[in-house]
């Protein structure tokens, strides 16, 4: 874990996130969001959770970003994006919360320790733990994903026989 890569990744991630939050065109914001997600995945690689970084890239860049782009294509109207305004009170609240979080982090003692040396976390280990200790959460997540799939299908289904 070295400092230059950390600085580069954090600057790129935060710049991409800020661009996604403040840019005018919706489709550009979606692409900057992909860059921010890639930065978060790079943080996961840096912290030694390689499997989670790959999951982040698969799920967010592969699925969620494509879903967002498809929704933009299905609902996009040019004059509406320009008309949709920007509330400065939201920026004020976000800045206040950031200052509060920063103050709390800087006040907390014992946060400046170096990372301990660990043996690398293998996919085999993750699979074993997932099938033993975390088998009930895994089943619940499966149920939740099924419910979300059915709910999404029902929400976007066109009811033609009504009209």
């Amino acid at each position: 874990m070295n400092t230059p890569s950390f600085i580069i990744i954090s600057v790129l991630t935060l710049a991409a996130a800020l661009a996604a939050a403040s840019i005018k065109k919706l489709i550009h914001a979606a692409f900057f969001l992909v860059a921010a997600f890639l930065g978060v995945a790079a943080f996961f690689f840096l912290l030694g959770a390689e499997f989670l970084g790959l999951v982040q890239i698969f799920v967010y860049v592969g699925a969620v970003a494509v879903l967002i782009v498809f929704t933009i294509l299905l609902t996009h109207r040019e004059e509406e994006t320009a008309a949709a305004g920007f509330k400065w009170i939201g920026a004020l609240i976000a800045a206040a919360i950031f200052v509060g979080l920063l103050w709390t982090i800087l006040q907390t003692p014992n946060l400046s320790t170096d990372a301990p040396l660990i043996e690398p976390l293998t996919v085999k280990k993750i699979g074993e733990v997932l099938m033993t200790d975390y088998v009930w959460p895994l089943q619940c997540i499966g149920l939740l994903l099924t419910a979300a799939l059915i709910g999404g299908l029902i929400l976007v289904k066109e009811d033609r026989d009504e009209s």
């Binding site: 939050a21 921010a36 912290l47 979080l101 997540i141 929400l155």
Partner: protein, 104 residues
């Protein structure tokens, strides 16, 4: 100086605040969903940072919680975007200021 837990927490707090900024200040429904996704990513970053800097890294608890959190975020994004499409079908708009039927 190598990056410590404190620097990771500061980056994560900044990412969370940017997501909150997008969710609170934009008036377009998809921008709000983008902000929520950013806040969830910041929370995952916190989970992994705390796991990596804790003294007992033999059990991959932080990684497990982050995996489940990513799955929940994916389900949330799917249902949220389906809701945006359903709202657009009914009102022909995605500007949340125009969705004021329940306003007294």
């Amino acid at each position: 100086m190598t990056p410590t837990l404190q620097t990771f927490l500061i980056v994560s707090a900044a990412l969370f605040s940017i997501g909150l900024l997008a969710a609170l200040s934009r008036r377009h429904a998809i921008f709000i969903l983008i902000g929520i996704e950013m806040m969830l990513a910041a929370a995952n970053l916190n989970f992994i940072a705390f796991w990596r800097f804790s003294s007992q890294t033999q059990s991959p608890t932080g990684v497990m919680v982050a995996i489940f959190s990513i799955a929940i975020a994916a389900a949330e994004a799917a249902v949220g975007l389906a809701l945006v499409i359903a709202v657009y079908r009914h009102y022909r708009t995605t500007n949340i200021n125009k969705l004021d039927q329940l306003k007294g």
